[in-house]
């Protein structure tokens, strides 16, 4: 138990990662509005990006421009990963919004429950 409290008070970023991801995931599942579902999905992914960025952080670390005697450096790899993942996330949002617009023009609603009723999904 003290372990959990210790982690929660010293590793703020991890707590934030869990909170952001969980809230995003909950929003995606529980909210019936399609646009808000997409926002939830984005939040979920943002939480993951945060986890990657913080995992690279080092107290007193400098930017990884390697010189003699300098250092320690922060790891550049997670930051590159997050950049790529952000691009992927943006493409996903774009496709998701495009599909939402198409559903709206076709059925005139943005609510998932109404769509389920119209389409007859089990």
């Amino acid at each position: 138990m003290t372990d959990i409290i210790g982690v929660a008070t010293t590793r703020h970023a991890y707590v934030l990662f869990v909170l952001l991801s969980a809230i995003g995931l909950y929003m995606m599942i529980a909210n019936e509005n399609l646009v808000k579902k997409i926002i939830g999905l984005n939040m979920f992914q943002t939480g993951i990006f945060l986890f990657f960025v913080t995992s690279a952080y080092r107290i007193g670390g400098s930017a990884p421009i390697v010189e003699d005697g300098a250092g320690p450096y922060v790891s550049p790899l997670p930051q590159v990963i997050v950049l790529t993942a952000i691009v992927v996330g943006i493409s996903l949002t774009a496709v998701g919004l495009a599909l939402t617009i198409r559903l709206y023009t076709e059925y005139g609603t943005l609510r998932a429950d109404a769509l389920r009723e119209v389409i007859g999904d089990e």
Partner: protein, 517 residues
């Protein structure tokens, strides 16, 4: 120089994907020739790769290519071995088959063929990459293009199915990314080969490593559509255009399952499973539930594409079970079943597509007596269906046989029993289809409520010799010959591969030798 094949295989379709849109500015129908030429080129390269990694050639049986010349573990590696070569060949064969089928049915837009090539490139990337994050990128390319292709149908429900797939598929990929993040924090590397040694050094019972595998497993279970995470799949397969259903059902889940095999055995290795028996039991339990429930749900459906979709849930449950069994025999069966399932589902979806566009038949009831009017397509669907049950001689028999044999060898009698039960259930739903096709009289009385074509006495057999001449009057649409030829070729391949166990063994032995040291 064979290692240069690997980047070529991925880059060719990805770069060629621009051409249909670019040429589309001048020519209306540029998409199909470009896609076909590219797919044939890639298929040739895939054949070369398969030959190069087979014992028939004198060279190395495992090719590694460092992208941009950065050596591993800093750069991204592409790895080609027997296992990935099998997948690459399957992807290329199905791509060429689906394209031949798509020539007349479309969706006839240049954007569709761009998407098709992107999807092919993404799948090849997943099969060949040796880097965990690179795998995520290709996973997302495949996902994104799948969503777009599914929604390319005119039906509004396709957009709904695609959006549902987008939410669940992205969640799956994100969970995979979390898993990779944990593994990265534990080991400091993303290269698969390097991570395997680092993970062993960290220890397989480390909570971080266990959590990493858990997230990766659940992420892939979403992508592969294992019960209860399968809910996106029936909608996506049912509402997508027939061409897209066939392509996606045959390849997308298959490649994700391949990636799971690769990560489970090449990165986490058998020792990880041995160190975590609880996790192994959980995998076997979920897989067994997926097999039974998937088969039962398939039995309850009336829409034919939905039957096949739920059947995939059951078949992939079987492959997941084989992964959990940690037996070389079972894993051998799993790879054969991946290939076999891909070919069988491609045949079934394309056959269903032919019958749907000729007779408007969408539900099992619509199929009443169609065998008399479309003997070739019905026959081929029957062949692929019986292969799915596992009736010898067919590739379905081989896959199921080795998985069941592996289960018995490791003493997992429960899994063996589940496979047996699922075979019976598969026989039930395929038997129902065959019974309707061959032995049920079409309900001609009244005729008004019947599907198009039924009321006309079926004087035109759209499925037969000179289909080019058959008119589209009487509600029976003419079917281009090549669509039927493709279905026949694929159905015959599911039977012919029964004799190919030795070929699979030759390609897989060196790979499994590394997996099960």
């Amino acid at each position: 120089m064979s290692d240069a094949l690997l980047p070529l295989l991925i880059a060719t379709p990805l770069l060629a994907a621009i051409l249909p849109l670019l040429l589309g500015l001048r020519f209306d129908h540029a998409g199909w020739p470009v896609a076909m030429a590219t797919s044939l080129t890639v298929a040739g390269l895939a054949g070369w790769l398969a030959w190069a990694v087979s014992p028939a050639s004198s060279g190395s049986q495992r090719f590694v290519h460092d992208l941009a010349g950065y050596p591993a573990p800093y750069g991204i590696e592409l790895v080609g071995d027997g296992l990935s070569a099998i997948l690459v060949v399957l992807i290329c064969v199905v791509a060429v088959a689906v394209l031949s089928y798509a020539r007349t049915t479309g969706p006839d837009s240049n954007a569709f063929y761009s998407g098709f090539l992107l999807l092919t490139g993404g799948l090849l990337g997943m099969a060949l990459t040796g880097d965990l994050f690179n795998l995520f990128v290709f996973l997302e390319i495949v996902g994104l293009v799948s969503y777009a292709l599914i929604a390319s149908s005119d039906d509004g429900r396709a957009a709904y199915g695609a959006l549902k797939y987008l939410f669940l598929g992205t969640t799956g990929a994100s969970l995979y990314l979390i898993g990779v993040g944990y593994a990265f924090v534990a080991t400091g590397t993303l290269n698969m080969g390097d991570m395997a040694t680092e993970l062993a050094a960290v220890g397989y019972s480390d909570p971080l490593v266990q959590a990493a595998f858990g997230f990766i497993l659940i992420g892939f279970m979403l992508k592969i559509a294992i019960f209860p995470l399968h809910t996106w799949q029936p909608d996506a397969y049912t509402y997508a255009p027939d061409t897209v259903s066939a392509f996606i059902a045959a390849l997308v889940s298959t490649t994700a399952a391949y990636a799971l095999i690769r990560i489970a055995y090449d990165v986490f290795t058998v020792e990880f499973f041995a160190a975590n028996p609880l996790l192994t039991d959980a995998v076997l339990l979920i897989a067994s539930i997926s097999i039974v429930v998937g088969s039962l749900l398939a039995l309850l459906q009336s829409d034919l594409k939905r039957v096949f979709a739920y059947s995939s849930v059951a078949q992939f449950g079987m492959i997941l079970a084989a992964i959990g069994l940690q037996s070389e025999t079972a894993l051998f069966g799993a790879v054969i079943h991946l290939v076999g399932h891909g070919l069988m589902k491609a045949t079934l979806f394309m056959g269903a597509g032919v019958l749907a566009s000729a007779y408007g038949a969408r539900t099992v009831a619509d199929y009443a007596g169609l065998a008399k009017r479309a003997p070739i397509t019905s026959g081929m669907m029957a062949v692929a269906g019986l292969a799915l049950v596992g009736i010898p001689p067919s590739v379905g028999t081989l896959g199921k046989w080795f998985i069941a044999l592996g289960a018995i060898e490791t003493g997992s009698w429960g899994v063996a029993a589940v496979i047996f039960i699922s075979t019976l259930l598969t026989l039930l739903y395929i038997g129902r289809l065959l019974e309707t096709l061959y032995f049920t009289q079409p309900a001609t009385a009244g005729g008004d409520t019947d599907v198009a074509g039924d009321a006309n006495g079926g004087s035109i057999v759209a499925d037969g010799g000179d289909t080019q001449d058959s008119t589209s009057s009487d509600g029976v649409a003419a079917i281009a010959t090549e669509r039927i030829v493709v279905v026949v070729v694929l159905a015959v391949s599911t039977v012919a591969l029964f004799g190919a166990a030795g070929l699979f063994a030759e390609l897989l032995d060196p790979v499994f030798g590394r997996f099960f040291q």
